[in-house]
Subunit: 474 residues, 2 copies
């Protein structure tokens, strides 16, 4: 019963991934090189993500705002590290209408510069602080190799940018937003993540430090799932965001930024989906239940409608597939689209007072008496699916997480069954570069609060400073 | 008690407008020429607009999608009228990273080309139709003169793009979406609009015809509030969006597009606001009620909290202004920000079992007994404000709508008290250009179902074909 449009995952993971994207109609390639069309099925997932996160941001005192998408070159250049980091991957607008521009502008690859410039104009006293703003917008980075959702020239994201009176307050903000991302991955996306600090080499251009949430995909490759940066006063000094503090002295603000992107849709696919298409955790699925009527007797229709009303009344997102397709086709379509629960209402079942439930994650079918409380049953089933997906992902992640003290082990693992490698590091960039020679293995993050597993750097053997998680990255 | 930061409306309307935008912190000028920062107060209004409209679009079977923001020049050029219409006002990306692009790309000034290109790839049979997609996105047009919200190089909007099996179905869609806009203006924005068809000269580049909603601002200037276009097969022929119809023949689809933008925020200001700042219709106000406690006794606090809970429980968006400002300052701030209702809870009133309500639209104050059902009282007050704003706007619009049969009258009106002019037209573009000489008066739309007021063209005196509404435009 395998979906023929989808390549076997074990045969060609990359092809399996794009097959799922296409078969579930999440995105299409466009005639704009490196850019995709996010199709209704994909965009509806993004809307669910936005809804949950936007609420969390607002609950924690953030407000939405909208900055221009263009950044004049001079404004972009004020903070040196940022422009150096992003220069190779921005797109430049050089003509407006029929005229050459006096100063070229780039399409935002990120908006620290615009927020900083704006903040400089609206802050003068500690009474104006903090400012905690966020924007949902599109971003452009001139990537060479692209892959739907995971790495696309244009993508959608949210970027929070906050400024604070004290370093401490800004640092608390950095960690608070990291926690929101971690919880969102765990509770909604059913994806366990490792959180930690990026090394100097891997941190965001211009940040004092960067925290990250790192997830492991089905094939053992790691994905940076979201980042939260502490800038200290780097941008506030470059853009002159100063204020009169409580001691009546001029001081520069302390700044953060944090973001997650449509890349999360890629993570959902690579963690949960299978060879029959998309599998969605119920808490993020735009449609949680599909009802398929088999036959068109009044009885079948009435019971289908009754179930629909009961589910809707219980706050479950459900619909009846009323299209003119055959039941078998509807089953397959609901499956490839990752609808968590399917309810089959058919004459034959009804004659025995039964209805059938099918769960997408395990593809099990359960036949139940028609007198059960359908809403309660489905609620419990949805919770069960959500938990099952998380536990499966966690088990796999744990199986693919290795503690190593010998670099030969790392090579062997990355050659055969890659995953997260926990290993000690001396702190030198040179050793990071050596690790990279092993199939591109990079430091994912520094685990600051975990017990060290050894006292020597896995690469050079010198005294180790940090316990680091390493992985091959998307 | 006039707000000193705001210029008198009668003295300088344009300055009054930008003063309100700045004083209510709806938008700020940015260092990106012609582009604004939409600040939290402004963006929250946009979010309210999105919420209402998005629900209406989904209820009528539309799905959201996301197209690339860049359009390669060749793709843009496939339909000749569109590129001719937009060429003078697009921004061109000519460099990606450090490299000159082989083909330059423009930032979307509208997305017919991208949707058409996409539709061509996904439609092959009548069974694939209709497709009814919409996107919420940013748009860039290289305008020379800009004004916050009304005309900005970058703005936010939604653009619906649909394709259909028959001309009739597409024409019904065009009118249905026009009606949604008309109702939205009336019911939510409390702005009466005139709807009608654009003349050939004023229609959208590439459309068979364009319908529009036209609103009249406080100063008698008209504003195009939203448009709904019928394309027939113009784009489907240029982009080869063909399908096998029910007779097993190849046919090109019939297409529509329709959009409204952040310009609606400008309309809200120019119709309802006054010299004390923003006035918002309750149905679109992000915050409908502010509670200001006067004094900080437990009694004052408890009653304020109790009222807040009651209002929230009734689905009213309310908050207590807990800032450290004086009550007078809080009153002024709520006023300039356009919060429809203010509730004052103070010791002195409470001693007499009273609380005070102030409505933003008329600035009236009402003192009521504390035992009233506050939620019911406020609900009725909000409805009353909504109706009052609409009725005031309608009355003004009617006062400023003139029927003319003599062009000298038009000149006199436009010189003294401009507004909508209803006048007959022969159908020749030459006469439209003559009208334009009167302070830039343009045809707003053709009234197809209204009784003709005369039999001769107001400009040339030849037999008239159409009754047209004319106005000076933003």
């Amino acid at each position: 019963m395998k979906n023929k449009a989808i390549t076997a995952r074990e045969v060609d993971f990359a092809k399996w991934y794009t097959d799922v994207v296409r078969a579930a109609r999440l995105a299409a390639y466009s005639n704009v090189k490196g850019c995709i069309v996010i199709e209704p099925n994909g965009y509806a997932i993004w809307e669910q993500m936005q809804k949950v996160l936007d609420e969390k941001f607002k609950e924690t005192g953030h407000q939405n705002i909208c900055m221009p998408m263009l950044i004049p070159e001079n404004l972009m250049k004020k903070e040196g590290e940022l422009i150096n980091g992003f220069a190779p991957e921005v797109a430049w607008v050089t003509m407006g209408g029929q005229k050459q521009l006096e100063e070229r502008m780039c399409i935002r690859p990120t908006s620290e510069t615009l927020f900083s410039d704006y903040y400089a104009g609206i802050v003068s006293s500690y009474r104006d602080l903090p400012k905690k703003y966020n924007q949902w917008c599109n971003i452009l980075r001139w990537e060479k190799e692209t892959r739907p959702f995971l790495r696309s020239r244009e993508f959608l994201w949210q970027e929070g940018h906050t400024i604070h009176e004290t370093a401490k307050e800004a640092e608390i903000e950095t960690m608070k937003m990291l926690k929101i991302y971690e919880d969102f991955y765990k509770e909604y996306l059913a994806i366990p993540v490792i959180t930690g600090r990026k090394t100097e080499k891997e941190k965001f251009a211009g940040a004092e430090y960067t925290y990250t949430v790192e997830a492991l995909m089905y094939n053992g490759v790691s994905l940076q799932g979201g980042t939260s940066h502490y800038f200290g006063q780097k941008f506030s000094k470059a853009y002159d965001i100063s204020f009169t503090n409580r001691n009546n002295e001029q001081e520069f603000v302390y700044q953060t930024s944090w973001g997650v992107a449509t890349r999360m849709i890629g993570a959902l696919i690579m963690v949960h989906s299978d060879e029959n298409g998309l599998v969605l955790p119920p808490k993020i699925a735009p449609k949680q239940v599909v009802i398929v009527s088999i036959g068109d007797s009044d009885k079948v229709k009435n019971i289908s409608n009754k179930i629909l009303e009961e589910l809707k009344g219980a706050g479950i997102s459900a619909y009846i597939d009323n299209s003119e397709k055959s039941p078998g086709f509807k089953f397959a379509e609901a499956e490839v689209n990752g609808i968590p629960v399917r309810i089959e209402v058919g004459e034959r079942d009804l004659a025995e007072n039964k209805i059938t439930f099918a769960r997408r994650d395990t593809r099990e079918k359960m036949t139940e008496n028609i007198d059960i409380n359908v809403a309660d049953y489905v609620k419990s089933l949805l919770n069960n699916i959500q938990d099952n997906l998380y536990n499966k992902a966690l088990q796999r992640r744990d199986e693919l997480t290795y503690e190593c003290i010998d670099i030969e082990e790392v090579k062997k693992i990355m050659d055969t069954k890659p995953g997260f490698i926990k290993a000690m590091w001396c702190g030198d960039e040179e050793c990071e570069l050596k690790m990279k020679e092993i199939k591109g293995t990079k430091s994912r993050c520094i685990l600051e609060n975990e017990k060290h597993i050894h006292d020597k750097c896995i690469v050079c053997g010198k005294p180790a400073k940090e316990l680091v998680v390493w992985g091959i990255q998307y």
